[in-house]
Symmetry: C2
Subunit: 338 residues, 2 copies
């Protein structure tokens, strides 16, 4: 095939005017007469003119593309965040490029390179669990384009962030379990070095103390939060002399693993042990019993991250100011704790 696209020049030739006039006509420049504009648009349509984005982006120094980095796409949370982000950005004339890191630091670095290479106007990212070294994110900042983090942020990096209040979410969960009569609550948490998981752990500890409940070390477990590890850690908890009567798991996937173990051993949920997850993944309402979980307002997070980005590009001067938006989460109570 190798069909050559119609360019401004082609339109200009047909009408015997300059390409500059054509360009201005298509962009509704005031200095072009209505008559010319009509003629140009007519010919453009006839020739099926598609502007060459590369050329205009190069000239304008602006690609109207926003890069998005996700730990993974097959999560309803991330999927929903992106959907809402896209809606806001599309309206403002931006398109998005999605890349996934698969929770790998190496992949994440590659993604950043790809996006910078594609000359995106900004990057909105949620960091991989693995990521500790922040030099690659510094690279974005030194490139002079806005960087907005969501969900998995990093305080040391001086950039904008949109997420939920993890500390308060833990409190909310503990309040709920205490109200249901639980006296011995365990927590299967994420890695402490990840800020959001650390905050959930802190919230758990403080809430437990507040209610004068036992906060034995054996009740607080650090986990990779995969389904497999959820199974493993639940087994550990069941092996304790003094079993917990409730388990708060910092991820729905690990919570599901825990539930499988409880089901397999014939331990009744919620009668014997109550269970709470985190993330409100769709399957939490599908399994038996359905799992109580925390909704993170993915729609708002996506929307706000996009709007934060737009806040920068609409100003000429990009002064990256710390813009932390912390939303309240919502507890969705289901059978596993009710």
């Amino acid at each position: 095939m190798n069909i050559k696209r119609t360019t401004l020049k082609d339109i200009a030739n047909v009408l015997s005017i300059s390409t500059a006039a054509v360009s201005k006509a298509l962009n509704d420049d005031t200095r072009i007469s209505v008559k010319t504009k009509k003629a140009v648009k007519q010919v453009a349509k006839e020739l099926n003119y598609q502007p060459n984005h590369l050329a205009s982006a190069l000239r304008k120094g602006k690609s109207n593309l926003v890069g998005v980095i996700l730990p993974r796409t097959n999560s309803s949370f991330f999927s929903s965040v992106v959907e809402n982000m896209e809606e806001v950005l599309n309206k403002a004339g931006y398109n998005i490029i999605i890349t996934q890191s698969n929770e790998s630091f190496e992949k994440e670095c590659k993604n950043i390179d790809t996006l910078l290479y594609t000359q995106v106007d900004g990057i909105i990212a949620s960091m991989a669990n693995e990521t500790v070294d922040l030099s690659y994110y510094e690279k974005i900042k030194s490139n002079g384009i806005p960087l907005i983090l969501f969900d998995r942020g990093e305080n040391d990096l001086n950039v904008d962030y949109v997420g939920i209040n993890d500390y308060d979410s833990s409190h909310m969960i503990i309040e709920h379990l205490v109200a249901k009569g639980c006296k011995r609550i365990a927590h299967i948490g994420g890695y402490r070095r990840t800020r959001i998981f650390n905050n959930r752990i802190r919230g758990y500890i403080d809430a437990i103390k507040k209610h004068d409940l036992p906060h034995d070390d054996e009740l607080l477990i650090e986990s990779s939060l995969t389904l497999e590890d959820g199974r493993r850690q639940m087994k550990k908890l069941l092996a304790l002399k003094n079993r917990p009567d409730a388990v708060y798991v910092a991820s729905d996937y690990a919570a599901l693993g825990a539930l499988q173990i409880l089901n397999e051993r014939g331990i009744k949920v919620p009668e014997e042990i109550k269970l709470v997850g985190f993330g409100n993944e769709p399957f939490t309402s599908l399994v038996t019993p359905s799992i109580t979980s925390v909704s993170q307002h993915s729609e708002q997070i996506g929307r706000l991250a996009a709007e934060t980005f737009l806040g920068y590009v609409e100003k000429d001067v990009v002064v990256q100011s710390l813009n932390k938006i912390i939303l309240d989460s919502e507890l969705i109570v289901r059978s596993s704790s009710n």
Copy 2:
């Protein structure tokens, strides 16, 4: 910020040579001396040079970007397809841009426009359920870039396709159920106008006939295949005077809905009714009882779609030849039918 990036010119100035020499040195042109190459690469590193992709893409008429259109990203099937596609394409120097149609025809058209506008070198897509009008896909073809469809293809459109053999998959399922002693097998299928679902229906009918089993109209139901509709259609089947002893559902989501109804009504699965889904979504192994399903070899589909694309760009002449790759699927037997 608005930091201006280093360009070829900056490097050229430092070394007092031409930008052409710099460009060639960085691209390892044989006509540049080893000494110069070393010096150029050294300076490039020092100045943290990042090539401007827009400029080179414009000049070369090639963006090294491949557009991907997915009905949705939060499905493990699509997620896995993309992951494998990306691996193959990255190795060949291509990067991908993911867009999601959310099963909406309108959104799909917008996605196509976005991708063409971004000057991708090719498009790999799986069509939205809604899509009937193919003119937008014709637009891609008339743009002269390769188009490869996967999973949800369309025979009328003369393009390459990678997918599984849906007709045979139905046969495989029926054979399995017959072997388990089922005598009255129902099918909750998708919309007949979608090719893959139509093939599954044809396979079901032919396999049923082959075994001289009853193929009453009431046993074959057309569905949107959402979880909700799965529940609805299962209720219908249970209301029949002559209930089926097995149900083959063309999607895991709808199969899960069906399972919920069966569980709610205390009907034992697989003892009273056996159940088979389609797609091998992760939750099929997580629910109780786990659901027998069909694996679609997402890894291979992704890889092959990518390779098909590469097959075009490596040749100079792009002759879009019909290149249909049909893979065998695999039945994953779990508790719901065992």
